[in-house]
Assembly symmetry: C2
Homo-oligomer: 350 residues x 2
């Protein structure tokens, strides 16, 4: 049965990097005798320009009818500094997460042996880092009620969580920890926030069903230090939406380049895979964006559907490009390889 | 006129480090012919134990009647993992900030030449870092309405800001930038939060009255990366309460040790000075806690009242202890100097 994959290139360098991921999936089709059905639809700023909304109905329908979504990137600076903008590209991504019920965002944080020198952190600090962040993705302050008074002088956002929202992702995280180093760290601000206290209570209770997993707690301010002081202490990190946004971007510098980091967003019925980097508008059309994060997103997609060997083939080809230095300029100064060439090299090595 | 200084030692290592700061202020009295009036009161877990509340009325009154507060640290693990606890030590600090109207928390982030090797970040990344964080301290999600439904299955925290709350700290931050490298970076999440959009609007408008200051904006997730990728890009950083908590603790690793970092919390009528480190309960009573952050808090206090020369004398004495290696074990492995000895050395060199 052929996997139906929705392609949402989005804005900035999104289309360029996504094209390389598709190349790799096509190479997988050939080498492993698989068949994927690709269909493309607009999302983000480009969808606003074309259809007046960042998530057109047809795009949402395509995603719902597909087995998985492969996402490029979203965002355009022309909306960022306009506090009055009525539609924003990011709404498209947030609405998509909500509509598809993608409640768990999973971001592996690894130190790459070939890239230890690229990180701003010392080698001895990051060497051997291997943890994974489970970020709640459809609740919290992102989706709580937003208010602005009529005079435009008072604004608010509500951070709300229910036991159910917490427990479904907690179970996923505990299961992941069971198959790894058996440690789960909940990051919260339970000394200040009521919602964090609910997280602590629910996660503690669920932890009783996973006696083999050691559970500990860390305040988010301390976590922001610990993650760069001693990243090897972590195995599975579980946290709410906003803290997860901050902590996972911070963690991304450990790998030496945000251009390498993929993420999976999982729900009960759907899944979306995307690089964690943004739309990087300054690089658009210049053939310099690093396609590896997008290519590794495709590998995560394959893994999600049990195509382990196929995913492995992509990851090995990526490793080869890193080892041989067939990489974009962000990873090697004055590299003469562009987005396309790196994509070609990896695809050919699958 | 003698400055009235309220001493609030608090919990954990708070009393030990605060005692060293007082030693240094006493040395200043002698050397510079100054006179300070010290009065002490309990706060935090110790106040709960003694009086049933983390901020007894008498403590609050003492602070209100004083010119400034010198604060130790707060927090005790016996409250952290108890989601049902009705009183918490941290409430004492939060209430104190609110009651004294300490709306601006100011945290300098500097790389110390003698401590470049202690940071997990590479020397070339942090060398020359010199910025200051203005964190809003009496608004946002810390103080918004908190709710827990009766069944204990749903909890929420409200993040609310008014134009006035934003503009009073924004003016302070712009003024600081004017006297520094003339750059102000607002950290927010304006692509998602209504309150962040209000921040951006108000700060942009106020920026027009400070044409010599270059204003830019950064999303908090990106900021969490930038602060460790390229900390030299920052001059004055302005942000709301929760983001400031996270970002400033992250920034603290740049200096090589959180044991060195002091902060000032300023209001219209009062001011409080404290180390940014916590109560570090594991170290309590062991004479190993680094007193420098507390001592530098005392220097910030003097500066705040225009006692520049006196503050300078403290800072020079601290530098001497760092250069000579008269420091606690957190800064030098196997150091034989304890909290008290380091305090004595610095006080004697004033
Ligand atoms: C684009 C933005 C809304 C989004 C988020 O904050 O979730 C992004 O930063 C991410 O982490 O995927
Ligand atoms: C103790 C805690 C409530 C406090 C805060 O979050 O503000 C602390 O982390 C700080 O930054 O001063």
């Amino acid at each position: 049965m052929a996997l139906k994959i929705a392609l949402l290139p989005g804005d900035g360098v999104g289309p360029e990097v996504l094209a390389q991921a598709v190349k790799c999936l096509e190479a997988v089709e050939e080498t492993f005798n698989q068949h994927f059905i690709f269909k493309e639809a607009p999302v983000g700023a480009i969808a606003i320009d074309k259809k007046g909304t960042p998530l057109p109905d047809a795009t949402l329908k395509l995603c719902k009818d597909s087995d998985a979504v492969l996402f490029g990137a979203i965002g355009d600076p022309k909306y960022d500094n306009d506090p009055e903008a009525k539609v924003r590209p990011e709404q498209g991504l947030l609405q998509l997460r909500k509509e598809l019920g993608l409640f768990a965002n999973i971001r592996p944080v690894l130190s790459h042996p070939t890239l230890l020198d690229k990180s701003p952190l010392k080698k001895k600090v990051i060497n051997g880092t291997d943890f994974v962040i489970y970020r709640e993705l459809t609740g919290g302050i992102y989706f709580g009620e937003k208010k602005l008074n009529e005079e435009g002088t008072k604004a608010s956002d509500l951070c709300e969580y229910t036991e159910d929202e917490i427990s479904r992702i907690a179970h996923l995280a505990f299961k992941a920890a069971k198959g790894r180093k058996k440690k789960l760290t909940l990051i919260d601000k339970a000394n200040v926030l009521e919602s964090s206290r609910l997280w602590r209570k629910v996660v503690t209770k669920i932890g009783e069903s996973y006696p083999e997993v050691a559970l500990d707690f860390m305040f988010v301010d301390n976590a922001a230090m610990q993650i760069i002081l001693n990243p090897r202490q972590f195995d599975v990190v579980l946290t709410e939406n906003m803290f997860g946004d901050i902590i996972s971007d911070e963690g991304s510098v450990i790998g030496g380049s945000i251009g390498l980091l993929a993420s999976a967003s999982i729900g009960d019925e759907n899944a979306l895979f995307e690089p964690i980097h943004g739309s990087y508008p300054q690089a658009k059309g210049k053939d310099i964006a690093n396609p590896i994060a997008s290519i590794l997103s495709a590998a995560m997609l394959l893994e999600h559907f049990g195509l382990t060997e196929e995913a492995w083939a992509i990851k090995k080809a990526v490793d080869k490009s890193l080892k041989k230095g067939i990489v974009t300029p962000d990873l090697k100064e004055n590299s003469q390889y562009g987005t396309n060439q790196v994509g070609d090299f990896i695809a050919h090595n699958i």
